[in-house]
Protein backbone atom coordinates (compact mmCIF):
# COMPACT_ATOMS: atom_id res chain seq x y z
CA UNK A 1 0.00 0.00 0.00
CA UNK A 2 1.34 3.40 -0.89
CA UNK A 3 1.40 6.29 1.53
CA UNK A 4 -0.35 9.60 1.04
CA UNK A 5 2.95 11.23 1.90
CA UNK A 6 1.89 13.73 4.52
CA UNK A 7 4.58 14.51 7.09
CA UNK A 8 4.83 16.35 10.37
CA UNK A 9 1.85 17.57 12.33
CA UNK A 10 -1.45 17.26 10.50
CA UNK A 11 -4.64 18.73 11.94
CA UNK A 12 -7.82 17.13 10.60
CA UNK A 13 -10.63 19.68 10.68
CA UNK A 14 -13.91 20.21 8.87
CA UNK A 15 -17.55 20.81 9.44
CA UNK A 16 -19.56 18.74 11.81
CA UNK A 17 -20.02 15.16 10.58
CA UNK A 18 -17.79 15.56 7.52
CA UNK A 19 -16.01 12.32 8.42
CA UNK A 20 -12.92 13.72 10.11
CA UNK A 21 -12.47 10.81 12.47
CA UNK A 22 -12.90 8.06 9.85
CA UNK A 23 -10.44 10.00 7.68
CA UNK A 24 -7.96 10.50 10.52
CA UNK A 25 -8.08 6.88 11.68
CA UNK A 26 -7.72 5.49 8.15
CA UNK A 27 -4.94 7.95 7.33
CA UNK A 28 -3.09 6.82 10.45
CA UNK A 29 -3.45 3.15 9.51
CA UNK A 30 -2.50 3.75 5.88
CA UNK A 31 0.65 5.69 6.71
CA UNK A 32 1.63 3.19 9.39
CA UNK A 33 1.36 0.38 6.85
CA UNK A 34 3.58 2.40 4.52
CA UNK A 35 6.27 2.29 7.16
CA UNK A 36 5.95 5.61 8.96
CA UNK A 37 5.92 6.28 12.68
CA UNK A 38 2.42 7.50 13.36
CA UNK A 39 0.67 9.00 16.33
CA UNK A 40 -2.93 10.21 16.64
CA UNK A 41 -4.60 12.40 19.25
CA UNK A 42 -8.34 12.52 19.87
CA UNK A 43 -9.06 16.21 20.35
CA UNK A 44 -12.79 15.91 19.81
CA UNK A 45 -14.09 17.88 22.74
CA UNK A 46 -17.48 18.62 21.20
CA UNK A 47 -18.85 15.28 20.00
CA UNK A 48 -20.18 12.86 22.59
CA UNK A 49 -20.23 9.66 20.49
CA UNK A 50 -18.37 8.13 17.54
CA UNK A 51 -14.94 9.44 18.51
CA UNK A 52 -11.42 8.21 17.75
CA UNK A 53 -11.24 6.85 21.28
CA UNK A 54 -13.70 4.11 20.26
CA UNK A 55 -11.06 2.65 17.95
CA UNK A 56 -8.23 2.85 20.47
CA UNK A 57 -7.75 -0.90 20.84
CA UNK A 58 -7.50 -1.50 17.11
CA UNK A 59 -5.14 1.48 16.63
CA UNK A 60 -2.81 0.35 19.41
CA UNK A 61 -2.73 -3.19 18.02
CA UNK A 62 -1.69 -1.71 14.69
CA UNK A 63 1.28 -0.05 16.36
CA UNK A 64 -0.10 3.48 16.30
CA UNK A 65 0.45 5.63 19.37
CA UNK A 66 -2.72 7.29 20.56
CA UNK A 67 -3.24 10.20 22.93
CA UNK A 68 -6.55 10.23 24.78
CA UNK A 69 -8.09 11.76 27.86
CA UNK A 70 -7.74 9.75 31.08
CA UNK A 71 -9.67 6.43 30.84
CA UNK A 72 -12.02 7.39 33.66
CA UNK A 73 -13.23 10.47 31.74
CA UNK A 74 -13.45 8.68 28.41
CA UNK A 75 -17.25 8.72 28.32
CA UNK A 76 -17.69 12.27 29.54
CA UNK A 77 -18.71 15.30 27.49
CA UNK A 78 -16.09 17.40 29.28
CA UNK A 79 -13.53 19.52 27.41
CA UNK A 80 -10.51 17.58 28.61
CA UNK A 81 -7.24 18.32 26.84
CA UNK A 82 -4.53 15.86 27.80
CA UNK A 83 -1.15 17.53 28.47
CA UNK A 84 0.32 14.65 26.50
CA UNK A 85 -0.93 16.29 23.30
CA UNK A 86 1.62 19.11 23.51
CA UNK A 87 4.32 16.49 24.13
CA UNK A 88 3.22 14.55 21.10
CA UNK A 89 3.38 17.63 18.89
CA UNK A 90 6.96 18.31 19.95
CA UNK A 91 8.17 14.72 19.57
CA UNK A 92 9.63 13.26 16.40
CA UNK A 93 6.87 11.18 14.84
CA UNK A 94 6.94 11.05 11.04
CA UNK A 95 3.25 11.86 11.18
CA UNK A 96 1.33 13.25 14.16
CA UNK A 97 -2.41 13.47 13.46
CA UNK A 98 -4.60 15.76 15.54
CA UNK A 99 -8.23 14.75 15.09
CA UNK A 100 -10.17 17.88 15.99
CA UNK A 101 -13.89 18.21 16.61
CA UNK A 102 -16.34 19.60 14.10
CA UNK A 103 -16.92 23.20 12.97
CA UNK A 104 -15.24 26.23 14.50
CA UNK A 105 -16.18 25.08 18.01
CA UNK A 106 -14.24 21.86 17.45
CA UNK A 107 -10.95 23.59 16.56
CA UNK A 108 -10.96 26.00 19.49
CA UNK A 109 -8.66 23.50 21.18
CA UNK A 110 -6.12 23.96 18.37
CA UNK A 111 -5.70 27.61 19.30
CA UNK A 112 -4.90 26.49 22.84
CA UNK A 113 -2.02 24.42 21.46
CA UNK A 114 -0.48 27.36 19.59
CA UNK A 115 2.76 27.40 21.55
CA UNK A 116 3.52 23.78 20.82
CA UNK A 117 2.35 24.02 17.21
CA UNK A 118 4.55 27.04 16.46
CA UNK A 119 7.65 24.88 16.82
CA UNK A 120 6.61 22.42 14.11
CA UNK A 121 5.60 22.37 10.49
CA UNK A 122 1.82 22.13 10.68
CA UNK A 123 -0.68 21.24 7.99
CA UNK A 124 -4.41 21.67 8.54
CA UNK A 125 -6.71 19.70 6.28
CA UNK A 126 -10.36 20.52 5.80
CA UNK A 127 -12.40 17.37 5.25
CA UNK A 128 -15.46 17.90 3.09
CA UNK A 129 -18.46 15.71 2.39
CA UNK A 130 -20.70 17.63 -0.02
CA UNK A 131 -23.58 15.34 0.96
CA UNK A 132 -23.71 16.93 4.40
CA UNK A 133 -25.75 20.03 5.24
CA UNK A 134 -23.95 23.39 4.91
CA UNK A 135 -21.14 22.14 2.62
CA UNK A 136 -23.12 21.25 -0.50
CA UNK A 137 -21.33 23.94 -2.52
CA UNK A 138 -18.09 25.94 -2.74
CA UNK A 139 -19.61 28.90 -0.90
CA UNK A 140 -20.59 26.75 2.08
CA UNK A 141 -17.14 25.10 2.17
CA UNK A 142 -15.39 28.49 2.15
CA UNK A 143 -17.60 29.73 4.97
CA UNK A 144 -16.67 26.70 7.09
CA UNK A 145 -13.00 27.19 6.16
CA UNK A 146 -13.01 30.81 7.30
CA UNK A 147 -14.75 29.95 10.57
CA UNK A 148 -12.27 27.18 11.27
CA UNK A 149 -9.30 29.46 10.50
CA UNK A 150 -10.60 32.31 12.66
CA UNK A 151 -11.07 30.05 15.67
CA UNK A 152 -8.05 27.76 15.33
CA UNK A 153 -5.67 30.62 14.49
CA UNK A 154 -4.24 28.36 11.80
CA UNK A 155 -4.57 28.40 8.02
CA UNK A 156 -6.20 25.54 6.17
CA UNK A 157 -3.38 24.22 3.98
CA UNK A 158 -5.13 21.46 2.08
CA UNK A 159 -8.51 19.95 1.32
CA UNK A 160 -9.86 16.41 1.32
CA UNK A 161 -13.03 15.09 -0.29
CA UNK A 162 -14.79 12.48 1.81
CA UNK A 163 -17.91 12.31 -0.33
CA UNK A 164 -20.16 9.52 0.87
CA UNK A 165 -23.65 8.45 1.83
CA UNK A 166 -22.31 5.55 3.93
CA UNK A 167 -23.90 2.34 2.53
CA UNK A 168 -25.59 4.23 -0.30
CA UNK A 169 -22.30 5.53 -1.75
CA UNK A 170 -21.77 4.94 -5.48
CA UNK A 171 -18.84 5.88 -7.75
CA UNK A 172 -20.97 8.82 -8.99
CA UNK A 173 -21.07 10.20 -5.43
CA UNK A 174 -17.27 10.09 -5.25
CA UNK A 175 -16.90 11.71 -8.69
CA UNK A 176 -19.32 14.44 -7.63
CA UNK A 177 -17.28 15.08 -4.49
CA UNK A 178 -14.12 15.26 -6.57
CA UNK A 179 -15.72 17.78 -8.91
CA UNK A 180 -16.64 20.04 -5.99
CA UNK A 181 -13.24 19.78 -4.36
CA UNK A 182 -11.52 20.61 -7.68
CA UNK A 183 -13.72 23.63 -7.99
CA UNK A 184 -12.94 24.64 -4.40
CA UNK A 185 -9.23 24.14 -5.08
CA UNK A 186 -9.40 26.46 -8.10
CA UNK A 187 -11.23 29.17 -6.17
CA UNK A 188 -9.01 29.02 -3.07
CA UNK A 189 -5.66 27.85 -4.41
CA UNK A 190 -5.66 25.06 -1.84
CA UNK A 191 -4.15 21.72 -2.76
CA UNK A 192 -6.37 18.65 -2.92
CA UNK A 193 -4.31 16.39 -0.64
CA UNK A 194 -6.36 13.26 -1.27
CA UNK A 195 -9.87 11.94 -1.61
CA UNK A 196 -11.37 8.97 0.19
CA UNK A 197 -13.32 5.95 -1.02
CA UNK A 198 -14.55 2.94 0.88
CA UNK A 199 -12.17 0.03 0.18
CA UNK A 200 -14.91 -2.08 -1.42
CA UNK A 201 -15.71 0.73 -3.87
CA UNK A 202 -12.13 1.40 -5.03
CA UNK A 203 -12.14 -1.34 -7.74
CA UNK A 204 -15.25 0.27 -9.26
CA UNK A 205 -13.57 3.67 -9.60
CA UNK A 206 -11.87 5.01 -12.70
CA UNK A 207 -8.72 6.18 -10.90
CA UNK A 208 -7.50 8.01 -13.99
CA UNK A 209 -10.12 10.66 -13.25
CA UNK A 210 -8.21 11.80 -10.16
CA UNK A 211 -5.06 13.92 -9.98
CA UNK A 212 -4.58 13.14 -6.29
CA UNK A 213 -4.12 10.04 -4.13
CA UNK A 214 -7.16 7.99 -3.03
CA UNK A 215 -7.23 6.95 0.62
CA UNK A 216 -9.12 3.67 0.99
CA UNK A 217 -11.51 3.81 3.94
CA UNK A 218 -12.65 1.01 6.23
CA UNK A 219 -15.50 2.09 8.49
CA UNK A 220 -14.62 1.67 12.14
CA UNK A 221 -17.16 4.00 13.75
CA UNK A 222 -20.32 2.10 13.00
CA UNK A 223 -23.47 1.57 15.05
CA UNK A 224 -23.62 -1.60 17.16
CA UNK A 225 -25.78 -3.58 14.73
CA UNK A 226 -23.09 -3.25 12.04
CA UNK A 227 -20.09 -4.09 14.20
CA UNK A 228 -18.21 -7.19 13.16
CA UNK A 229 -17.26 -8.07 16.71
CA UNK A 230 -18.37 -6.90 20.11
CA UNK A 231 -16.89 -3.58 21.12
CA UNK A 232 -13.94 -3.94 23.46
Amino acid sequence: MSGIGLKGVVVIAGNYGSGKTETAVNLALNEKKSGFDVCIADLDLVNPYFRTRETRKMLRESGIDIVLPDEKYMNADLPILSPAVAGMIKSSYDLAILDAGGDDAGVMVIAALQDALRQRKVAMLQVINPFRPFTENVKGCIKVKEEIEATSKLRVTGIVSNANLIDDTTPEIIYKGYELIQDLSEKTGLKVEFITAETSLVPELDLKKFDCPVLPIERYLVPPWKRKTTRS
Partner: protein
Protein backbone atom coordinates in the same frame (compact mmCIF):
# COMPACT_ATOMS: atom_id res chain seq x y z
CA UNK B 1 -34.85 16.02 -3.23
CA UNK B 2 -31.70 13.91 -3.39
CA UNK B 3 -30.36 11.97 -0.46
CA UNK B 4 -28.08 13.64 2.05
CA UNK B 5 -26.17 12.35 5.03
CA UNK B 6 -27.58 13.53 8.34
CA UNK B 7 -27.27 12.99 12.02
CA UNK B 8 -30.51 12.03 13.69
CA UNK B 9 -30.44 15.28 15.66
CA UNK B 10 -30.06 17.37 12.50
CA UNK B 11 -32.86 15.44 10.80
CA UNK B 12 -35.19 16.24 13.71
CA UNK B 13 -34.61 19.95 13.15
CA UNK B 14 -34.94 19.85 9.37
CA UNK B 15 -38.07 17.68 9.51
CA UNK B 16 -39.73 20.09 11.93
CA UNK B 17 -39.01 23.04 9.64
CA UNK B 18 -40.42 21.14 6.69
CA UNK B 19 -43.50 20.33 8.72
CA UNK B 20 -44.09 24.07 9.07
CA UNK B 21 -42.77 24.46 12.61
CA UNK B 22 -41.24 27.91 12.87
CA UNK B 23 -41.05 28.02 16.66
CA UNK B 24 -38.33 26.08 18.42
CA UNK B 25 -37.31 26.59 22.03
CA UNK B 26 -34.69 24.48 23.74
CA UNK B 27 -31.89 24.21 26.23
CA UNK B 28 -28.69 22.33 25.35
CA UNK B 29 -28.01 18.90 26.83
CA UNK B 30 -25.94 15.96 25.57
CA UNK B 31 -26.82 13.96 23.48
CA UNK B 32 -29.37 16.21 21.74
CA UNK B 33 -27.54 19.55 21.57
CA UNK B 34 -27.02 19.27 17.80
CA UNK B 35 -30.73 19.91 17.29
CA UNK B 36 -30.36 23.33 18.88
CA UNK B 37 -27.13 23.93 16.98
CA UNK B 38 -28.83 23.05 13.70
CA UNK B 39 -31.86 25.18 14.46
CA UNK B 40 -29.64 28.14 15.39
CA UNK B 41 -28.29 28.00 11.83
CA UNK B 42 -31.47 27.08 9.97
CA UNK B 43 -34.26 29.03 11.68
CA UNK B 44 -33.01 32.47 10.52
CA UNK B 45 -32.97 31.15 6.93
CA UNK B 46 -36.70 30.38 7.07
CA UNK B 47 -37.74 33.38 9.21
CA UNK B 48 -38.38 31.08 12.12
CA UNK B 49 -37.61 31.55 15.79
CA UNK B 50 -35.16 29.73 18.02
CA UNK B 51 -34.86 30.92 21.58
CA UNK B 52 -32.61 29.18 24.06
CA UNK B 53 -34.48 29.29 27.35
CA UNK B 54 -32.72 29.82 30.64
CA UNK B 55 -33.70 26.30 31.68
CA UNK B 56 -35.90 23.44 30.57
CA UNK B 57 -38.58 24.67 32.97
CA UNK B 58 -38.71 27.94 31.04
CA UNK B 59 -38.62 26.13 27.72
CA UNK B 60 -41.63 24.01 28.72
CA UNK B 61 -43.70 27.14 29.23
CA UNK B 62 -42.40 28.80 26.05
CA UNK B 63 -43.80 25.75 24.27
CA UNK B 64 -47.10 26.16 26.13
CA UNK B 65 -47.28 29.84 25.17
CA UNK B 66 -46.63 29.27 21.48
CA UNK B 67 -48.99 26.29 21.39
CA UNK B 68 -51.72 28.33 23.06
CA UNK B 69 -51.41 30.84 20.20
CA UNK B 70 -52.04 28.07 17.67
CA UNK B 71 -48.46 27.98 16.39
CA UNK B 72 -46.61 24.81 15.44
CA UNK B 73 -43.96 24.44 18.09
CA UNK B 74 -41.32 21.91 19.13
CA UNK B 75 -38.65 21.38 21.72
CA UNK B 76 -35.97 18.76 22.08
CA UNK B 77 -34.14 17.64 25.16
CA UNK B 78 -32.64 14.63 26.87
CA UNK B 79 -33.84 12.75 29.92
CA UNK B 80 -33.06 15.11 32.85
CA UNK B 81 -34.26 18.04 30.75
CA UNK B 82 -37.54 16.30 30.00
CA UNK B 83 -38.04 15.72 33.73
CA UNK B 84 -37.82 19.48 34.19
CA UNK B 85 -40.37 20.00 31.43
CA UNK B 86 -42.80 17.47 32.83
CA UNK B 87 -44.85 20.04 34.73
CA UNK B 88 -45.42 22.07 31.58
CA UNK B 89 -46.26 18.93 29.60
CA UNK B 90 -49.03 18.15 32.07
CA UNK B 91 -50.35 21.74 31.79
CA UNK B 92 -50.24 21.60 27.98
CA UNK B 93 -52.12 18.29 27.94
CA UNK B 94 -54.58 19.68 30.51
CA UNK B 95 -55.14 22.79 28.39
CA UNK B 96 -55.51 20.63 25.27
CA UNK B 97 -52.82 22.34 23.20
CA UNK B 98 -50.82 20.62 20.45
CA UNK B 99 -47.01 20.56 20.74
CA UNK B 100 -44.15 18.27 19.80
CA UNK B 101 -41.53 17.10 22.31
CA UNK B 102 -38.46 15.05 21.45
CA UNK B 103 -36.47 13.14 24.06
CA UNK B 104 -33.06 11.84 22.96
CA UNK B 105 -32.62 9.62 25.98
CA UNK B 106 -29.44 9.22 27.99
CA UNK B 107 -28.65 6.98 30.95
CA UNK B 108 -30.28 7.74 34.29
CA UNK B 109 -31.56 8.09 36.93
CA UNK B 110 -30.41 11.54 38.02
CA UNK B 111 -27.54 12.85 35.93
CA UNK B 112 -26.74 9.27 34.87
CA UNK B 113 -24.43 9.40 31.87
CA UNK B 114 -24.31 10.76 28.34
CA UNK B 115 -24.50 7.43 26.52
CA UNK B 116 -27.67 5.97 24.94
CA UNK B 117 -30.52 4.58 27.02
CA UNK B 118 -34.22 3.80 26.79
CA UNK B 119 -34.79 4.47 30.46
CA UNK B 120 -37.58 7.01 29.95
CA UNK B 121 -40.15 4.50 28.71
CA UNK B 122 -42.24 4.89 31.87
CA UNK B 123 -41.74 8.65 31.92
CA UNK B 124 -43.08 9.07 28.40
CA UNK B 125 -45.79 6.40 28.30
CA UNK B 126 -47.12 6.35 31.84
CA UNK B 127 -46.67 9.79 33.26
CA UNK B 128 -43.75 12.05 33.87
CA UNK B 129 -46.01 14.87 34.93
CA UNK B 130 -49.09 14.77 37.15
CA UNK B 131 -52.70 14.02 36.44
CA UNK B 132 -54.66 11.81 34.07
CA UNK B 133 -52.98 12.65 30.81
CA UNK B 134 -51.34 10.61 28.11
CA UNK B 135 -48.86 11.46 25.39
CA UNK B 136 -48.89 10.00 21.93
CA UNK B 137 -45.40 8.46 21.97
CA UNK B 138 -43.47 7.44 18.86
CA UNK B 139 -40.09 5.70 18.72
CA UNK B 140 -38.08 5.85 15.46
CA UNK B 141 -35.42 3.23 14.67
CA UNK B 142 -33.28 5.35 12.36
CA UNK B 143 -32.75 8.72 10.76
CA UNK B 144 -35.26 8.24 7.92
CA UNK B 145 -37.97 7.25 10.37
CA UNK B 146 -37.17 10.30 12.50
CA UNK B 147 -38.07 12.45 9.51
CA UNK B 148 -41.33 10.60 8.95
CA UNK B 149 -42.33 10.69 12.61
CA UNK B 150 -41.44 14.32 13.23
CA UNK B 151 -43.40 15.40 10.15
CA UNK B 152 -46.32 13.24 11.27
CA UNK B 153 -46.16 14.48 14.85
CA UNK B 154 -47.45 18.00 14.18
CA UNK B 155 -50.73 17.03 12.45
CA UNK B 156 -51.25 14.29 15.07
CA UNK B 157 -50.76 16.75 17.91
CA UNK B 158 -53.32 19.01 16.24
CA UNK B 159 -55.76 16.17 15.56
CA UNK B 160 -55.85 15.25 19.26
CA UNK B 161 -55.00 18.69 20.68
CA UNK B 162 -52.43 16.89 22.77
CA UNK B 163 -48.64 16.84 23.04
CA UNK B 164 -46.81 14.22 20.97
CA UNK B 165 -43.55 12.81 22.32
CA UNK B 166 -40.87 11.27 20.12
CA UNK B 167 -38.33 9.19 21.99
CA UNK B 168 -35.01 8.02 20.63
CA UNK B 169 -31.99 6.85 22.54
CA UNK B 170 -28.76 8.83 22.21
CA UNK B 171 -27.59 6.77 19.24
CA UNK B 172 -30.65 7.71 17.20
CA UNK B 173 -29.65 11.35 17.68
CA UNK B 174 -25.94 10.93 17.10
CA UNK B 175 -25.65 8.45 14.27
CA UNK B 176 -25.53 9.45 10.62
CA UNK B 177 -27.59 7.84 7.87
CA UNK B 178 -28.56 8.83 4.36
CA UNK B 179 -31.95 10.45 4.40
CA UNK B 180 -34.49 11.74 1.92
CA UNK B 181 -37.05 14.40 2.78
CA UNK B 182 -40.60 14.15 1.48
CA UNK B 183 -42.41 17.26 0.22
CA UNK B 184 -42.95 19.95 2.80
CA UNK B 185 -46.19 19.79 4.75
CA UNK B 186 -48.50 22.43 3.41
CA UNK B 187 -51.45 21.70 5.67
CA UNK B 188 -51.88 24.36 8.32
CA UNK B 189 -53.39 23.65 11.73
CA UNK B 190 -57.02 23.31 10.66
CA UNK B 191 -58.86 23.47 13.96
CA UNK B 192 -57.06 26.25 15.79
CA UNK B 193 -59.90 28.78 15.55
CA UNK B 194 -61.79 26.54 17.94
CA UNK B 195 -59.27 26.81 20.75
CA UNK B 196 -56.23 29.07 20.12
CA UNK B 197 -56.13 32.39 21.93
CA UNK B 198 -57.60 35.04 19.65
CA UNK B 199 -56.74 38.24 21.48
CA UNK B 200 -58.61 41.38 22.49
CA UNK B 201 -59.79 42.41 19.02
CA UNK B 202 -62.48 39.79 18.96
CA UNK B 203 -64.00 40.91 22.24
CA UNK B 204 -67.71 41.23 21.74
CA UNK B 205 -67.64 39.99 18.17
CA UNK B 206 -67.19 36.28 18.82
CA UNK B 207 -66.58 33.89 21.63
CA UNK B 208 -63.20 34.24 23.32
CA UNK B 209 -60.94 31.20 23.44
CA UNK B 210 -59.39 30.79 26.85
CA UNK B 211 -56.52 28.36 27.22
CA UNK B 212 -56.54 26.92 30.73
CA UNK B 213 -56.18 23.77 32.77
CA UNK B 214 -57.89 25.03 35.93
CA UNK B 215 -61.35 23.59 36.59
CA UNK B 216 -62.50 24.22 40.15
CA UNK B 217 -65.91 22.70 39.72
CA UNK B 218 -65.57 18.94 40.36
CA UNK B 219 -68.28 18.07 37.84
CA UNK B 220 -66.58 20.20 35.19
CA UNK B 221 -63.13 18.76 35.93
CA UNK B 222 -64.49 15.23 35.75
CA UNK B 223 -66.10 15.99 32.40
CA UNK B 224 -62.86 17.58 31.18
CA UNK B 225 -60.98 14.40 32.11
CA UNK B 226 -63.62 12.31 30.34
CA UNK B 227 -63.05 14.38 27.20
CA UNK B 228 -59.31 13.76 27.49
CA UNK B 229 -59.91 10.07 28.07
CA UNK B 230 -62.07 9.87 24.95
CA UNK B 231 -59.16 11.31 22.96
CA UNK B 232 -56.75 8.71 24.38
CA UNK B 233 -59.23 5.93 23.57
CA UNK B 234 -59.45 7.28 20.03
CA UNK B 235 -55.63 7.19 19.79
CA UNK B 236 -55.78 3.52 20.78
CA UNK B 237 -58.15 2.87 17.87
CA UNK B 238 -56.47 5.00 15.21
CA UNK B 239 -52.78 5.52 15.94
CA UNK B 240 -51.20 2.16 16.77
CA UNK B 241 -48.13 1.61 14.61
CA UNK B 242 -45.71 -1.29 14.63
CA UNK B 243 -43.47 -3.38 12.39
CA UNK B 244 -43.52 -7.19 12.29
CA UNK B 245 -40.10 -8.60 11.38
CA UNK B 246 -39.55 -12.19 10.27
CA UNK B 247 -42.88 -13.32 11.69
CA UNK B 248 -43.93 -15.52 8.75
CA UNK B 249 -41.85 -18.54 9.72
CA UNK B 250 -42.24 -20.93 12.67
CA UNK B 251 -40.32 -19.02 15.29
CA UNK B 252 -39.81 -20.40 18.77
CA UNK B 253 -38.95 -17.06 20.32
CA UNK B 254 -40.65 -13.72 19.78
CA UNK B 255 -38.58 -10.60 20.47
CA UNK B 256 -40.26 -7.31 21.30
CA UNK B 257 -37.91 -4.37 20.91
CA UNK B 258 -37.94 -0.75 19.71
CA UNK B 259 -35.60 2.03 18.56
CA UNK B 260 -31.87 1.36 18.25
CA UNK B 261 -32.24 -1.87 20.19
CA UNK B 262 -34.52 -3.28 17.49
CA UNK B 263 -31.84 -2.62 14.86
CA UNK B 264 -29.42 -4.78 16.87
CA UNK B 265 -32.15 -7.44 17.21
CA UNK B 266 -32.70 -7.44 13.43
CA UNK B 267 -29.01 -8.20 12.87
CA UNK B 268 -29.24 -10.99 15.46
CA UNK B 269 -32.40 -12.37 13.80
CA UNK B 270 -30.70 -12.34 10.37
CA UNK B 271 -27.60 -14.05 11.80
CA UNK B 272 -29.73 -16.76 13.40
CA UNK B 273 -31.77 -17.21 10.24
CA UNK B 274 -28.54 -17.92 8.36
CA UNK B 275 -28.00 -20.75 10.86
CA UNK B 276 -31.53 -22.06 10.33
CA UNK B 277 -33.07 -20.60 13.49
CA UNK B 278 -36.24 -18.57 13.04
CA UNK B 279 -36.91 -15.71 15.45
CA UNK B 280 -39.76 -13.24 15.11
CA UNK B 281 -39.94 -9.64 16.27
CA UNK B 282 -42.61 -7.05 16.88
CA UNK B 283 -41.20 -3.52 16.87
CA UNK B 284 -43.60 -0.99 18.39
CA UNK B 285 -43.37 2.31 16.50
CA UNK B 286 -45.87 3.84 18.88
CA UNK B 287 -45.19 3.17 22.58
CA UNK B 288 -48.50 4.78 23.45
CA UNK B 289 -50.85 3.62 22.11
CA UNK B 290 -49.09 0.26 22.47
CA UNK B 291 -49.54 -2.49 19.84
CA UNK B 292 -51.06 -4.87 22.40
CA UNK B 293 -52.99 -6.91 19.86
CA UNK B 294 -50.01 -7.36 17.52
CA UNK B 295 -47.79 -8.61 20.34
CA UNK B 296 -50.63 -10.79 21.63
CA UNK B 297 -51.24 -12.39 18.24
CA UNK B 298 -47.55 -12.93 17.48
CA UNK B 299 -47.07 -14.59 20.88
CA UNK B 300 -50.14 -16.79 20.26
CA UNK B 301 -48.52 -18.50 17.27
CA UNK B 302 -48.29 -22.22 17.98
CA UNK B 303 -44.54 -22.51 17.33
CA UNK B 304 -43.77 -19.67 19.76
CA UNK B 305 -42.74 -20.90 23.20
CA UNK B 306 -41.32 -17.73 24.76
CA UNK B 307 -41.46 -13.96 24.44
CA UNK B 308 -38.59 -11.65 25.39
CA UNK B 309 -38.59 -7.88 25.74
CA UNK B 310 -35.15 -6.52 24.83
CA UNK B 311 -34.68 -2.91 25.87
CA UNK B 312 -31.98 -0.53 27.02
CA UNK B 313 -33.65 -0.18 30.38
CA UNK B 314 -34.03 -2.35 33.45
CA UNK B 315 -37.37 -3.86 32.42
CA UNK B 316 -39.88 -1.13 31.65
CA UNK B 317 -41.48 -2.07 28.33
CA UNK B 318 -41.64 -5.69 29.50
CA UNK B 319 -44.65 -4.69 31.63
CA UNK B 320 -46.57 -3.74 28.47
CA UNK B 321 -45.41 -6.95 26.79
CA UNK B 322 -46.81 -8.94 29.73
CA UNK B 323 -50.04 -6.95 29.45
CA UNK B 324 -50.19 -7.96 25.77
CA UNK B 325 -49.26 -11.61 26.12
CA UNK B 326 -51.69 -12.09 29.03
CA UNK B 327 -49.96 -15.17 30.40
CA UNK B 328 -50.34 -17.35 27.31
CA UNK B 329 -46.53 -17.71 27.01
CA UNK B 330 -43.70 -16.97 29.43
CA UNK B 331 -42.37 -13.41 29.12
CA UNK B 332 -38.82 -12.47 30.07
CA UNK B 333 -36.60 -9.42 29.85
CA UNK B 334 -33.06 -8.67 28.73
CA UNK B 335 -31.32 -5.34 28.67
CA UNK B 336 -28.51 -3.04 29.66
CA UNK B 337 -28.80 0.56 30.66
CA UNK B 338 -25.31 1.90 31.40
CA UNK B 339 -24.82 3.20 27.90
CA UNK B 340 -23.42 0.10 26.21
CA UNK B 341 -25.84 -1.14 23.59
CA UNK B 342 -26.20 -4.94 23.75
CA UNK B 343 -24.50 -6.55 20.75
CA UNK B 344 -26.16 -8.88 18.21
CA UNK B 345 -24.16 -11.74 19.76
CA UNK B 346 -25.60 -11.02 23.19
CA UNK B 347 -29.12 -10.98 21.76
CA UNK B 348 -28.46 -14.32 20.05
CA UNK B 349 -27.27 -15.82 23.34
CA UNK B 350 -30.48 -14.72 25.05
CA UNK B 351 -32.65 -16.22 22.32
CA UNK B 352 -30.67 -19.49 22.26
CA UNK B 353 -30.96 -19.78 26.04
CA UNK B 354 -34.75 -19.54 25.72
CA UNK B 355 -34.84 -22.11 22.90
CA UNK B 356 -32.71 -24.55 24.89
CA UNK B 357 -34.57 -24.04 28.13
Amino acid sequence: MAKILMKGNEAIGEAAIRAGCLNYFAYPITPQTEVAEYMAKRMPEVNGVFVQGESEVAVGYMIFGAAACGERVMTTSSSPGVSLMSEAISYIAGARCPAVFVNIMRGGPGLGGILPSQGDYFQSTKGGGHGDYRLLVMAPDGVQEIVEMVMMAFPLAEKYRNPVMIVGDGLIGQMMEPVEFPDNLTVKPSNKDAWATNGMDTRGSKEKNIVKSLYLDPEELNNHNLTLKAQYERMKKEEIRFEAYNTDGDYKVLIVSYGTMSRVCKTAIDNMKAKGIETGMIRPKTLFPYPLQAVHDAAAKQSCKAVISIEMSMGQMVEDVERAVLGQKPVSWYGQCGGNVPSPEEVEEQVMALINK
